[in-house]
Subunit: 317 residues, 2 copies
């Protein structure tokens, strides 16, 4: 952690005018700025951030954390400026609310010599952060595609729901297509359900009215999987097809644990990646272990056999 | 850590016939298999592995570590089989002595449900390991190249020493060349010094006899930098050129700290990456934090200003 000593020096300066709070000031402060728990995935992310902070404050008493959640980019920028100005953070872990408006403020933090860890969504300018932690989007599509290729026969039919049109969604879908290439599976249709339950419901209703023979659905997201299952239930076609969502929503994981034939497996894209980012940042503060670089967290398949290890009943997601 | 519960179950079985050593058996054992400290970099790697293990045994009393060092691939295979058979490891951290002979044995370990972390050198078959931790070879070349581009003038002359002919060396050199592209720097010559002090000495002697005007040397490795400096000293041309090595050997870092004009900077390729791998593996054993995936540790530039943070006087490297 090459930047720590700068702050030790700054701290020594502070202590010349030590207040009764000086003991408090001896701690290394780490700021964590994340979006509010507005929807399922972010709810899980907030849960895992808090859990990691609790665990770390117990493990490393020399650390303290400043957690701020924001419902918009402006609030997040203010949170970060406040962490630097009034809390003297030596490291920042940030999941940018949006890339563009957060780039300059986070760059300004890095230029002050503060360690910066960016999670999930990159900044608009490369090279600002010391550490980048994110999920594996091509892996997310590939792992799902491999399951389809292994568990369907040549000539079987599937439909696919895509997310919001983004590079991220393209990466996932291209890797899925590459993984089923040569398997003889027919992709009847692909439409954008925008990672949204209601949109996915509408897309799936349309698919069901158009196609008599569907063997499986790649819903590619658990919120979309919920919408898809609702459409299938309304059409009374639950026995015809299975569905693979993604990201490990606890209701879905529970059904996999219980052996639901409609939901044989899931693929991880863990909101707990925020915990990985906070842990690595903390490790860099308490040791010489190298933690700069790029950590892409693998997408793993969740089956009835291992589902228990991905089930967090206390998390909102 | 999805595989832990399998082992918890195995442990419960063991406890039915509990011995006075049962308390000991409650610990989660992590095996660490690395090459012996035969040369500088591996010496540093051994040092940082031991340091990480000491720190982790203190931080997490529920963990215990089995460290084995091997001077050849056969010994490493035996070490790993022994860790599984007699020590009941639940995770393995391995820096393969060679890729080919270690691939099947490590695959067999993974197939038993034991967590596998591979460090630095990959296995011959992709997808065996749960976590891969390695340095950034293109980054190593790029960061060095950027320094040359920023600190030399158009028309300045450099020579380059390459490592053993490998993909790894190609990645470094190609990234270096891309970074100096358009700078107007002349690369007079490039020869393989094979990451070896004596070979580098001979290559540099040859360069010095051929070229009257050399402004800088990319030695691309600290062992080679030592050989290069010896050749320059014997030719009495110390005042003409500066040298950039790489990997952060402590003697070189000390000279950067002291402001040696021949050694203005260095580029990291940290032997301490073994500590990162051991720490992440341990974290997966004690928490639900996702630690599977691929962590590429960034190559950073070491300057007189930050050199102190990369200086490990107790390490042999």
């Amino acid at each position: 952690m090459e930047r720590r000593d700068i702050f030790k020096a700054a701290l020594v300066g502070t202590l010349l005018c030590a207040s009764p709070l000086a003991a408090q000031d001896d701690k290394i402060a780490i700021g964590v700025a994340i979006p509010s728990a507005t929807h399922g995935f972010m709810g899980g992310l907030n849960f895992h951030a808090q859990e990691a902070i609790e665990r770390l404050e117990e493990t490393y008493p020399q650390l303290e954390f400043v957690l701020a959640t924001a419902g918009d980019a402006g609030k997040m920028v203010n949170d970060i400026e406040d962490m630097v100005a009034t809390r003297g953070i030596e490291a920042l872990v940030v999941l940018p609310f949006e890339s563009e408006p957060l780039t300059s403020p986070v760059q300004a933090v890095a230029e002050q010599g503060i360690w910066v860890t960016v999670v999930d969504r990159g900044l608009s300018v490369p090279g600002i952060e010391d550490l980048y932690v994110a999920g594996d989007n091509p892996g997310f599509g590939r792992v799902a595609g491999e399951y389809f290729a292994e568990n369907l026969e040549e000539g079987d039919n599937i439909v696919v729901l895509r997310g919001i049109p983004t590079t991220l969604d393209n990466e996932r879908v291209e890797a899925f297509q590459a993984a089923i290439d040569g398997s003889g599976i027919n992709v009847l249709d692909m439409q954008h359900g925008n990672w949204n339950r209601d949109d996915a419901f509408n897309v799936m209703q349309d698919f069901l009215s158009k196609y008599d023979d569907i063997d499986a659905v790649w819903a590619s997201d658990d919120d979309m999987a919920i919408g898809v299952m609702e459409a299938i239930a309304q059409a009374g076609r639950e026995d015809e097809m299975w569905i693979v969502g993604g990201a490990g929503m606890k209701e879905i994981i529970k059904r996999i644990m219980d052996g639901d034939p409609m939901l044989p497996v899931n693929v991880t894209y863990p909101p707990a990646q925020i915990a990985t980012a906070i842990e690595l940042t903390a490790l860099g503060m308490v040791s010489d272990t190298p933690v700069s670089g790029r950590f892409i967290i693998g997408s793993q398949i969740i089956t009835p056999e291992n589902a228990e290890n991905f089930y967090f009943p206390d998390s909102p997601f």
